[in-house]
Subunit: 494 residues, 2 copies
Amino acid sequence: MATGLLSTREFNVSKREKFSEWYNTVIYAADLVDSRYNVQGFLVHKPWATRLIRGLYSLFEPELEKDGHEPVVFPTVIPKENFELEKEHVAGFVPQVFWVTRGGEEEFARPLALRPTSETAFYQMFALWIRSPADLPLKLYQSCSVFRYEHETLPFLRGREFLWIETHDVFATEKEARAQLLIDSAIATRVLTEKLGIPLMAFLRPQWDRFPGGLETVAYDVLMPDGKINQVGSTHILGQNFTKAFGVKWTGGDGKEQFPWSTCFGPGIWRMAGALVSVHGDDKGLILPLPVAPVQVVIVPILKSEEKRKEVLDYCLNLQGHLRTHGLRAKVDDSNKSPGFKYNYWELKGVPLRIEVGEREVAQNKITIVRRDTREKLVAESAHAFKHVEEIGAKILDSLRAKAEAELKERITTSATDKRQVKAALDSKGGFVRVAFCSIAMDGEPCASELQEFTQGGKVRGHLLNKKEKPDASEKCVVCGKKAHEIAYVAKQY
Amino acid sequence: MATGLLSTREFNVSKREKFSEWYNTVIYAADLVDSRYNVQGFLVHKPWATRLIRGLYSLFEPELEKDGHEPVVFPTVIPKENFELEKEHVAGFVPQVFWVTRGGEEEFARPLALRPTSETAFYQMFALWIRSPADLPLKLYQSCSVFRYEHETLPFLRGREFLWIETHDVFATEKEARAQLLIDSAIATRVLTEKLGIPLMAFLRPQWDRFPGGLETVAYDVLMPDGKINQVGSTHILGQNFTKAFGVKWTGGDGKEQFPWSTCFGPGIWRMAGALVSVHGDDKGLILPLPVAPVQVVIVPILKSEEKRKEVLDYCLNLQGHLRTHGLRAKVDDSNKSPGFKYNYWELKGVPLRIEVGEREVAQNKITIVRRDTREKLVAESAHAFKHVEEIGAKILDSLRAKAEAELKERITTSATDKRQVKAALDSKGGFVRVAFCSIAMDGEPCASELQEFTQGGKVRGHLLNKKEKPDASEKCVVCGKKAHEIAYVAKQY
């Protein structure tokens, strides 16, 4: 773990009082990333972040595969003409595309985009692969990095290269495409909430905020400690826009051309890492839920007398072996630092469970287990170590989730009836403001723009996907005062 | 598996007689890749290839980690000025670099390279991370794709974007760097030979064939069925060239600057996939060793009477569950194709074991196991399915390895004493020609060039890394006839 120790620094910032400073300190202190790479906006992911990200992929990929998705690896580059086939898509993405224009000394006649997203790569192949309804549904996913020429960047939240998954699904019917939206949303919820303890809100985005080239967008919003929103993923119903643009079709019995429907889902692995760091961390550093912790249990030997040294170390190694046999990522820290140094170090890294082993533990066949989140201690039989780790791991996750859910609930304001009250709520505690709103179709855009300007960034996130909420007949839009057709949520975002 | 079935075609080409046609048919027939993507030299990896490649990564990564390497994710782009710091490196790589020159509408003042290899990215960070010998050894690896503007491409063998692993290791001393070379070579041998049944030859390459910017190169050569060589990976001793170029250093007690030594190792995951396809495949398709087969056991129900249909299918599903519980990738093919179609399909895909289940098997609690490589059948107790699969899987691997080793041995010519005989051996059976050679230091280059021209492509691969071979005092170089100092091997390569 030499690299981990290299740049780990003292960490002592209040997350509650100075979230931004806390975030910008903890990601370096816990040695997740290094931002000193000499291309602005591109990050070096150090081993701890790399393993954390692998953990996130390993939660999502099996869920997608259980739902019938198959993995593929597509080229990183996409020719410019592919973008130009779908007009809204090109307008939406091209301003932030990186262009490859030369190979060796040779200037290309047609530039290649570094993929900002891969619809225009996949659909070119779909046109070759899909010849009849028998070829459908076709559900593929790719785990990869994508590239966007952003002007402001923030580690795990906005980057010029970031890691995600993209699914690209094609269906014979609209009905199946709409059903997939609900499946995607259930997967996002299951992974984020059940496995990572992060509550999310799934919104049908307003029409003016949909994916370039798509029909409808559902996005998954996570509340960050500073009250701003981190959109950790989204699903788009693309309708027949992309299949028509790329000629993905067949001829029906009636001689007419048929175009299938399609969807895409982008679990934002990078943004989930940012959410994990932010939502669960505390003033001592990260707190990682067991399912994604690169080290789940750190075992710290407390070496006093030289004569018992080997005995204590062997006991720790046996314990490590026992836990690893059960599939846990356990690690003895036998470096020559003090126990206190090691406690701080692994707390900063967010390891959920620590086991302390001293001469007394060895003599009595015991272990002392310490929870990262509450620092509660439990002395237990060494023989039952695995059972205890599993149980306490589950408790930590439950407790992190409960805390995050309470925080989210506390930060949903439901009492605002005009734009001043929306602004006041956003200014005082951030989070979501639940409001009556005229419309999330295109005719609501003027009100949304006015609200965003008035609140200095409060955006209409849309209406909840999974809960039918409708305003009473008497309720008025918080902006224009006309009849409200929607219960919408307003929030500032990253 | 819709995508798998889409483009699977009839397959019937003799591998022995027409290897090139066989290869260019089987990779599409088995639905590994699609080369119709509209950027030349860039491939779409379909699900079967993606899973196969993941299997290869999953064999290498733990070996690297056991040896103390930690995973990282570095940016895909590298600024041009980084390349220019190491003169030989820039000369070697820049002619085949893809350049990113624009973001949106903005022209960059300094172009960014798509990494052709990442030394010049890693060393920029090493200069920040390494401050004293206490920071060493530093051993990192990255699993990623790299980009080279090649003019001729061939799937899995030469591509404009291909998948590999790159390690970048830094050591305080030359001795450790040299020891790492042997460790890397042992890892390559262990994975290729033990896990995949592919014998390799590790050569210290001649000085004129080393990595641009490195001191010494060891490369891992695999014999392909057409007698040409597939270099599946290499390790380079970079000496202090890169640490000096990038200012990776510290000041010693004597006030002098100290520069560490470094190495890099590139297991060519893509080329290993090409080797797997080629070395083990037969006229029916791929043959994949158990450790990397995306499906290890396919279970084919043989449905006769309608009344027993459910019983047979349930029996298959139970068996699948039993094998999966033991960690095997088992799959019931319950599609509505005929058993014969399914046999051909899964043989083409290279699934090492097939289990056939008909009414008789169900009545007797039996299964019929068929080996992909020999097509031998074994009727066994269903209750012992896992044990049999494990045993037969190991036998298949042993038998694939023995066959490949025999083929390699048969194709090493040891009798050539002049360049005409070298040419005759290469022309008649390809493979390696073991020769006495004047020198693999720079002074041997004129002989190597002459030999390459004379044999139309026979290259001096260097001398064996792990076997001390020296010519007798009387032996003469096969080219110049002067005293030979080396036993070298000559072969044509991909």
